[in-house]
């Protein structure tokens, strides 16, 4: 229940709102059909992540969280999309349909189940004297983590899979904002660069796959060629 050093209710409410919209963007990444749309949802998700960091850092004032927000705001909505645009061939963004293992309504329902599951999972954790901010950030971050993993399994295209991975990272980050706000800034910087390099490597790999077989539908690359010809 409310912390004795009570933060203003409006700030708490705004943080909860950022959390709600963060969750909504995560659902959007599961639901959308286009690579472009998936990317847009990822950008918004990262912006809400930064907003939450900023709101949590305002009171009690913590330069540390504000710096985290700034790093996120530069890294995820700007640098990563730019890098993906440069490395992955343009043709992928113009295609409308993403191939998927399940159809969209079913995968949305599964995603919904995962989100409710995340809330149930975090309920016993929250009973151990959690503050209001953890109450918002822990279950939503956990839900984003699960939904990102789910996107990774369900999508067959390389770029949405990568975005699912990044969504998992965002979810973990979102939780850590409230649970471990005093994490060393150095760690945050390392994570930011790590993600950037992962995006770069996967982008280049996707480009190579695209040049070789003319598609990025990596879900159908499950069998080796020699094996299938036998």
């Amino acid at each position: 229940m409310p912390h004795p050093a009570a933060v203003s209710p409006l700030l708490v409410q705004f943080n909860a709102l950022a959390g709600g919209l963060f969750l909504l963007c995560t659902f959007g990444m599961v639901a959308t059909r286009q690579v472009q749309g998936c990317m847009r949802f990822f950008i918004w998700q990262s912006i809400f992540l930064a907003a939450s960091a900023c709101l949590l850092g305002l009171r009690p004032l913590s330069w540390h969280l504000l710096a985290v927000a700034a790093i996120n705001l530069i890294n995820k909505p700007i640098l990563i999309p730019w890098l993906l645009r440069r490395t992955v061939p343009e043709e992928i963004y113009t295609r409308r349909e993403i191939s998927q293992v399940l159809n969209i309504p079913i995968s949305l329902l599964v995603a919904l189940g995962l989100a409710v599951g995340a809330y149930f999972l975090s309920e016993p954790l929250l009973k151990v004297g959690a503050t209001q901010r953890i109450g918002v950030n822990l279950p939503i971050g956990l839900a984003a983590l699960l939904l990102g993993a789910y996107t990774l399994t369900v999508r067959r295209e390389a770029v949405p899979q990568l975005l699912g991975l990044l969504s998992m990272e965002n979810g973990a980050f979102f939780t850590s904002l409230a649970v471990a706000p005093e994490l060393h800034l150095f760690v945050e910087l390392v994570v930011a660069f790590d993600v950037l390099i992962a995006v770069f490597v996967i982008g280049v790999l996707t480009r190579a796959i695209h040049e070789h077989i003319g598609t990025t539908d990596v879900g159908s690359l499950a069998v080796l060629k020699e094996e299938s010809s036998r």
């Binding site: 229940m1 209710p9 409006l10 708490v12 409410q13 705004f14 909860a16 709102l17 959390g19 709600g20 919209l21 969750l23 909504l24 659902f27 639901a31 969209i104 309504p105 949305l108 329902l109 995603a111 919904l112 989100a115 409710v116 809330y119 309920e123 929250l126 959690a130 209001q132 109450g135 918002v136 279950p139 939503i140």
Partner: protein, 316 residues
């Protein structure tokens, strides 16, 4: 007590008078955005006036359902108007006759009879439109339910007059994630129920693509006028619920003075104009969805409403 009955009837008059104006404004604004001139905003009044002075043709193969339906379609929004806050922020005489769920059922009754009447005449387009409306309807129903359950759970009541105070009192409640997500889900519901663009094209005249319009194709004369007017009132009532209960319960009359209540009329119309601007922006920037994509659109609304519920239920 007497004044509350009068105000209640005044609400009905306001809804009846201004519903065609809202429809006219929407279509005019849409045409302007599409760089056409468009009909006058008073055109729906002229249409209704003209239709009331025309003869009516009724197929002799149709049953009483067909003749009965326009009256039900016309009367159900008026019933709901008695229950909801249109002009005042305090409950009026009939406010406790039914709650929001009851109002929803009454509104659905009109749609139910319109569907039956469309099947009744055996016009080939009628049943097609009717079945499509049911498709949209049964996808929208769960969203409707969860939105209402969330709203009444949060406010601890299902009476709209009590619900409207909950979200703005104190103002930080307005930014609750549950509130914002419920607003979003209800907006999508209005698009679906009102036959608006991502779901259905209200100005389309191609029968094979119609969803909502084709149910009224067989009506002529006064019956057609009642159907048209009833449909416009239904949208107006939905907007009143959306704006006065969920989004912006400001500008309603606080006291029982007549001048206060009369002043509320332009304020409510202003709110509706703001909504119409948003609606026009949505309609002009989206394309109509293919029929089987509607399930995805409303599935998204369902996910939003359930997200609203879980963020509230599990909040510390």
């Amino acid at each position: 007590m007497g004044i509350r009955i009068i105000f209640n009837l005044l609400q009905v008059v306001v809804v009846m008078l201004f519903a065609p104006l809202m429809a006219g404004t929407t279509s005019r604004l849409k045409e302007i955005v599409q760089s056409k001139r468009g009909p006058s905003i008073l055109q729906p009044y002229r249409d209704i006036w003209k239709l009331f002075h025309k003869d009516e043709v009724v197929s002799d193969r149709s049953s009483w359902l067909f003749r009965f339906t326009p009256y039900i379609v016309f009367v159900t929004p008026i019933f709901v108007t008695l229950l909801i806050p249109v002009l005042t922020s305090y409950p009026l005489f009939f406010a406790f006759m039914a709650d929001m769920l009851g109002g929803g059922f009454v509104l659905a009754l009109g749609g139910f009879f319109a569907t039956l009447a469309a099947v009744d005449t055996a016009n080939p387009y009628g049943p097609m439109g009717a079945s499509r409306t049911r498709l949209v309807g049964f996808l929208a129903e769960p969203v409707f339910m969860i939105v209402f359950f969330t709203v009444s759970f949060v406010a601890g009541s299902t009476i709209p007059y009590i619900v409207q105070q909950r979200w703005v009192n104190p103002i930080s409640n307005f930014f609750e994630p549950a509130h914002v997500l419920v607003m979003l889900a209800f907006f999508i519901l209005i698009l679906a129920e009102g036959g608006r663009i991502p779901v259905d094209n209200p100005s389309g005249h191609f029968e094979l693509a119609m969803i909502d319009e084709s149910k009224g194709l067989e009506y002529s004369g006064p019956s057609a006028a009642l159907m048209k007017w009833g449909g416009e009132m239904k949208l107006f009532v939905l907007l009143c619920i959306f704006l006065n209960v969920l989004v912006a319960p400001w500008g309603l009359a606080q006291s029982t003075g007549l001048s206060d209540v009369l002043l509320a009329i332009p304020l409510v119309l202003l709110k509706i104009l703001a909504f119409v601007l948003v609606l026009v922006a949505v309609e002009c920037s989206l394309a109509k969805l293919r029929l089987f994509r509607i399930s995805e659109f409303l599935g998204a609304a369902f996910v939003i409403s359930v997200a609203a519920m879980i963020t509230w239920v599990f909040a510390l």
